[in-house]
């Protein structure tokens, strides 16, 4: 029953430590920021780090499987290009969701914001006949301002984010109709450099992919390598403690909602460039997949945290799965909705469980 000190692990024995000694033991392989309080499950301990990269492996496996099954449709370069390009716009919107979620707020109006931006851009380009660069800048500013209004309603009036932004969605739907008269606006008279900016390819890679990459890079740097990002994660996790650490919680929440608004507008701008027309109501279908990919992303790379790299992995995993299934079962048009809805529910339940375990400790 009685053990001597010597039998114990040398590393953590308090007797051979100085009065104020390092007791931070750091055995290699135990370093794991993301495991839940119940400890890391055994299956994740291997070199594969399934707890962090499962989505990446799954994406690769799916890509290979579909390429083998469908060598003529899925396994082609042009299909890869289609997946990359179509995900780029969804990706910008998904990152917009991730930014607000990281700061502990929520913006469901971002699809409506995207729709509104498309309509506004179309009107500025045709009726107002502005140079396209200026029109794009104004549109992005409008998006950010919508985020600022959301922020005001949430932080100053104390309205729950879900309610505030649901209301804002409806208001924006009305504004979109008013601005564009409920019509798709063709952009025939606009300088060809405008559509060029959405349809060009660089070394055969669609240019929109580079837009997504640029946005992702900036956000990744911001969230993971700057004090600002550290603060955003802190307010997203425990706003009360963050406030008492001297962090201006309301200001940062407002800032992230404005970034969300600007990114939603950017998604609208890129879509308009790609289509060469400002399609009325084009934002709405992007809403659900964006949330699905964001929550799925929070289970990857840095589990439990809304992070950029995880979000990108989730985005492409979803895109590959949906596209593959669509090509495999061309007569089942509902397959996309089914996959995205299921992923949203499953991913949210995983993330919510991780967060709940954290809270109840």
């Amino acid at each position: 029953m009685k053990r001597t000190i010597k039998e114990r692990s040398v590393m953590t024995s308090p007797t051979d430590l100085p009065a104020v000694g390092t007791t931070v033991v750091d055995p290699p392989g135990v370093t794991d920021p993301g495991s839940g309080p119940r400890g890391r499950p055994a299956w994740s301990a291997g070199v594969l780090r399934l707890d962090r990269y499962s989505g990446l492996y799954l994406a690769v496996i799916l890509a290979v499987v579909f390429s083998v099954l469908l060598p003529d449709t899925f396994g082609t370069l042009s299909n890869a290009r289609v997946i990359a390009a179509s995900s780029a716009i969804a990706g910008i919107l998904t990152l917009a969701v991730a930014v607000s979620m990281a700061a502990g707020t929520f913006d469901i109006s971002l699809a409506a914001n995207m729709t509104f931006s498309i309509c506004l851009l179309g009107t500025l380009l045709t009726s107002a006949d502005l140079p396209w660069v200026l029109a794009v800048i104004l549109t992005l500013l409008a998006g950010a301002s919508i985020g600022a209004v959301n922020a005001l309603i949430i932080t100053r009036l104390g309205v729950e984010p879900i309610v505030a932004t649901l209301g804002m969605s409806s208001v924006l739907a009305a504004l979109s109709f008013w601005v564009a008269d409920g019509q798709t606006i063709l952009l025939d008279g606009v300088s060809p450099t405008f559509t060029e900016a959405g349809q060009a390819t660089i070394a055969t890679v669609p240019i929109t992919v580079f837009y997504l990459a640029a946005v992702a890079l900036v956000l990744w740097f911001l969230l993971e390598h700057t004090p600002l990002g550290r603060y955003i994660y802190a307010i997203g996790s425990n706003p009360q403690a963050a406030k008492l650490a001297g962090i201006k919680v309301l200001r940062l929440q407002s800032l992230s909602l404005m970034m969300t608004g600007a990114l939603a507008a950017l998604a609208g701008v890129v879509l308009t460039m790609q289509l060469g027309a400002s399609a009325f109501g084009a934002g709405a279908p992007y809403l659900l997949p964006a949330f699905a990919a964001t929550f799925l992303g929070a289970t990857q790379i840095l589990p439990g945290r809304f992070n950029v790299r995880g979000t990108i992995i989730a985005l492409y995993l979803l895109a590959i799965a949906v596209k593959g299934l669509q090509l495999q079962f061309p007569d089942l048009p509902w397959i996309k909705d089914l996959v995205e809805g299921t992923v949203l529910i499953v991913a949210v339940s995983i993330t919510a469980r991780a967060i709940r375990q954290r809270r109840t400790r």
Partner: protein, 504 residues
């Protein structure tokens, strides 16, 4: 080993626990006889709470462990089975639902009073909740959310909930650091309750870092060192010194080490400060001075630091280094060189979701950035130096903060603020849940800080701590200062007496 022939109320055998490759409990066995108070002691991170959480079914033990309650085997890892066996818990920081009211928390697992048609009878329910708390000596607004309560009130709710069990239903009562933020007078009241319960034959498992409590209350004591049981002894066979030796393998230096400089100019001044409990308070803290505040629960002691720092609304003037600090502006307080180590560690102190490194560097991360980029190496180095200085025991700097033991979380919070080189340091229950050795170290750090000319204000429920640390102590009662002790007058006994309203 049993003091008598009856079956032990609780018999835990061969409990081990591994968290992600690190073994934190090694084959620990422990038994509690009917009517026995069995103390469980050990340094921060030695595995006390883990053992208790395993018993409660919150963590799963490694294979091989077993538990018998009243001689009957029970399945570890099944909270319902353990609850049915009559084991009740007052956890260190878990077990209440923060977002629910006190009434709801007391009703959870016990049931609501029903009225006509199965409707909840809120009036009866509320009255019952108030009565349950009054029975253990606390006046708490039972409609308040648990997350808004002071730590000691939360403990009271947890105790009241455990005691709700019908007569004879409770077999074992487990208390994990119930007195961490409890003034002496209230500790005595808790002991009376515990003694009543033990006379009914309930077995009690009692965790505390206050060793004098162990000797006053317990029949036997089990000592954990790094997850190993190193001894189970009758308290009568031990003295405090011997127990400290078993726990730490060495002596603890409790002497004050302050270069007695003459205090400088006032760095912190309060005039007519008023809050929810504090009626009127004037106070000055000079550079290099350590001023203490004592008082029972509800005296205003618990809210003072939050009022000053701006975590709670207040009236009256606060000046820091001659500059006025408006109410409810924590970031201005930080900018003026003030630091607050809050009492409510889970709500105000740690940011769960961030890891140990990010928590330790939260207040100083701006200094670690060149241009806008945080330099990863400095980030790691500073976090490592904080945890070395505070002797934090953590699996790694990248582990989630919530995987640290309670005392180690507290050390991280303290370290995070000491790192900012504050001019004014507000400490609210600075050593709650910290083991005696680390506590002595922290006291030395506070000595150092004061010697460097920082104005320190300590609000503590631990009167002995105030005696150890302070040049001057104010005693609060009903929101006002009732007396002030200077220098050698600062004595635990006098502080306890005056805070109770007795003459010292």
């Amino acid at each position: 080993m049993n003091p008598d022939q009856r079956a032990p109320r609780l018999d835990l055998r061969a409990v081990s626990k591994t968290f992600g490759g690190t073994r934190v409990l090694h084959d620990v066995s422990l038994d509690i006889a009917p009517g026995e108070v069995h103390a469980l002691v050990g340094q921060n991170g030695s595995g006390k709470s883990t053992l208790i959480k395993i018993l409660a079914g919150f963590h799963e033990a490694d294979p091989g462990a077993s538990a018998l309650v009243d001689g009957r085997p029970r399945s570890l890892g099944d909270p319902d089975d353990i609850h049915d066996a009559g084991v009740r818990f007052v956890h260190q920081d878990l077990g209440l639902v923060p977002a629910l009211s006190v009434v709801d928390n007391l009703a959870l697992g016990h049931g609501y009073a029903r009225g006509m048609g199965g409707r909840i009878n809120w009036r009866r329910q509320t009255a019952a909740a108030e009565a349950a708390l009054r029975a253990i000596g606390y006046e708490v607004d039972v409609r308040a959310l648990v997350e808004d309560l002071q730590p000691v009130e939360r403990t009271a709710v947890a105790i009241a909930r455990a005691l709700q069990s019908a007569q004879g239903e409770m077999s074992v009562l487990v208390l994990d650091e119930p007195t961490a933020t409890m003034p002496k007078a209230e500790v005595q009241r808790l002991f009376e309750i515990i003694n009543t319960v033990r006379q009914q034959g309930v077995g009690i498992l009692y965790v505390s870092h206050h060793l004098e409590e162990v000797f006053e209350l317990a029949d036997r004591v089990t000592v954990l060192v790094d997850g190993h049981r190193v001894a189970t002894k009758r308290c009568s066979e031990l003295d405090q010194r011997g127990l400290v030796d078993l726990m730490t393998g060495g002596v603890v230096d409790e002497a004050r080490q302050r270069s007695t400089t003459v205090p400088g100019e006032p760095l912190l001044a309060l005039r007519g400060v008023r809050g929810a409990e504090i009626v009127e308070l004037d106070l000055q803290v000079l550079a290099g001075e350590v001023v203490g505040v004592a008082g029972i629960t509800g005296s205003g002691r618990e809210e003072l630091c939050s009022l000053i720092f701006g975590a709670k609304p207040r009236e009256g003037r606060v000046t820091v280094r001659g500059r006025e600090l408006p109410a409810l502006r924590p970031h201005t307080a930080c900018a003026l060189g003030m630091a607050l180590v809050p009492a409510n560690r889970l709500r105000d102190g740690i940011v769960s979701g961030l890891n140990v490194r990010e928590n330790a560097n939260l207040t100083t991360v701006r200094r670690l950035a060149r241009h806008v980029r945080i330099r990863p190496r400095d980030d790691r180095r500073q976090a490592a130096s904080i945890s070395t200085k505070m002797s934090v025991k953590a699996p790694s700097l990248e582990s989630p903060i919530e995987s640290l033991s309670g005392g180690n979380q507290q050390k991280v919070v303290l370290g995070k603020w000491l790192q900012t080189d504050p001019h004014v340091l507000l400490l609210d229950e600075p050593t709650q849940g910290v083991d005696i050795k680390a506590k002595a170290e922290i006291h030395h750090l506070i000595d150092d800080v004061a010697s460097k000319g920082v104005a320190v204000l300590v609000c503590s429920s631990d009167e002995a701590e105030l005696e150890r640390l302070c040049d001057r102590v104010l005693v609060l009662r009903h929101g006002r200062v009732v007396s002030e002790f200077n220098g050698a007058e600062v004595q635990t006994r006098r502080l306890v007496h005056t805070s109770l309203g007795l003459t010292s």
